[in-house]
Symmetry: C2
């Protein structure tokens, strides 16, 4: 919906979007013509995630993104030069948001290794990260990643840091608790399971966020029974 107002002189003076698509950054940001370059880029990235989620990678068009942002057809090439750039920027944004999220979850966690593992597993199923919309966008990129080195690098960067962290946590728990398996395979299976649960959530079979979290918890509790219970990390 577009609102067009006319001033007393009869000239068009305001032409901006009304309604619910305002997904830019901070609330104080200016809209319409006044929006800053960064705000506009973020707005287009959000519209891209919407489009990826709604129509999938291969049906995402610049026209759909522009419509979703309530702007004109040429807008993406104006701000991003090309469709490819927009998609890379979108993946970059999601990748950073994901990384920031689990890092801050680790910082907020208690000092014990057990509570840190508990926190990082829960972070993956947090409402901020784990929405239908974003999972669908992730999956769209995964589907293209193998044939596009740029996507592969960005998805890979996401995983490497995460997995190293999980390996370290598993190694620390082993040192503390006397488990007798290797940290690397254990961490790999844990990370793979978390991604697999995301995949399930996207695919929309019966799996819900609650069931997925329950399954993830069941896993880590069985693997580290001396440190974790179904109710949470044991006090050291």
């Amino acid at each position: 919906m577009t609102v067009v107002l006319k001033n007393p002189k009869g000239k068009v003076t305001v032409k901006m979007r009304a309604g619910g698509a305002e997904q830019g950054s901070g609330d104080g940001e200016k809209r319409g013509r006044k929006a800053s370059k960064e705000t506009r880029r973020q707005q287009l990235i959000e519209a891209t995630i919407d489009s990826l989620a709604k129509r999938g990678y291969s049906d995402t068009t610049l026209a759909d993104v522009a419509d979703g942002a309530g702007l004109s057809r040429g807008i993406v090439n104006f701000h991003f030069e090309s469709k490819e750039n927009l998609l890379v920027a979108t993946l970059q944004f999601m990748s950073e948001e994901y990384g920031d999220h689990w890092n801050s979850a680790l910082e907020k966690a208690g000092p014990s290794v057990a509570s840190r593992l508990w926190a990082i597993v829960h972070a993956d199923f947090d409402r901020k990260i784990c929405t239908k919309r974003k999972l669908a966008a992730w999956c769209a990129f995964w589907g293209e990643a193998k044939s596009r080195p740029t996507y592969q690098a960005l998805c890979g960067a996401r995983d490497v840091k995460y997995q190293e962290t999980v390996i370290a946590l598993c190694a620390d728990l082993k040192a503390e608790g006397g488990y007798d398996y290797e940290p690397e395979p254990m961490a790999l299976s844990l990370c793979a399971m978390l991604e697999g649960l995301w995949l399930r959530l996207m695919m929309g079979d019966g799996t819900t966020r609650e069931k997925a979290l329950e399954a993830a918890i069941a896993f880590v509790v069985v693997v580290f029974p001396r440190h974790l219970t179904l109710q949470g990390p044991k006090p050291q």
Copy 2:
């Protein structure tokens, strides 16, 4: 590479593909003009998997598929009516092949529940199923599944039967061995982990088939220590 032969009258009589792309069904099948409808369809499905693996879903074109099969441009619409039909048939084929594979692995397995679980986990990493090429094709479909009900149904069908089987195996092991966790979440986390490992294999980070299998084994051994060891199922 295309071979063109001329008969004594100077007319072109044979025009068929030479080389290594002959991935159709049985060896006795005829080639060239003589190929049966089913052979031709299978040949095109294999070329589709190749194209999906090489170029990804969004860059897979009918021209590329036809080239890959060594046939002309209109061939797909002749045998499948539309691109969409070809892709659905391809997914159907992969889905059936996958299902047949783990079902026959279960049949070949020993009678004990432990050896059946062992077999089904190994089946996922068998060289016949778990190739770069096929994993990439699966991933391409997953990426589009959320916005295409047909794909979603076919991918879902793949999973539901599998997961029910795994739940039953987990429940039987629990009954036998006195483990105290619920079969459903445990089976879900196991299935999710197997899919997640496939995802890793496709993405081409350092994960190899051997490491993936090792991680999967580490998991089930930890979960069912009374029935499984790293070397295989325990004799009952």
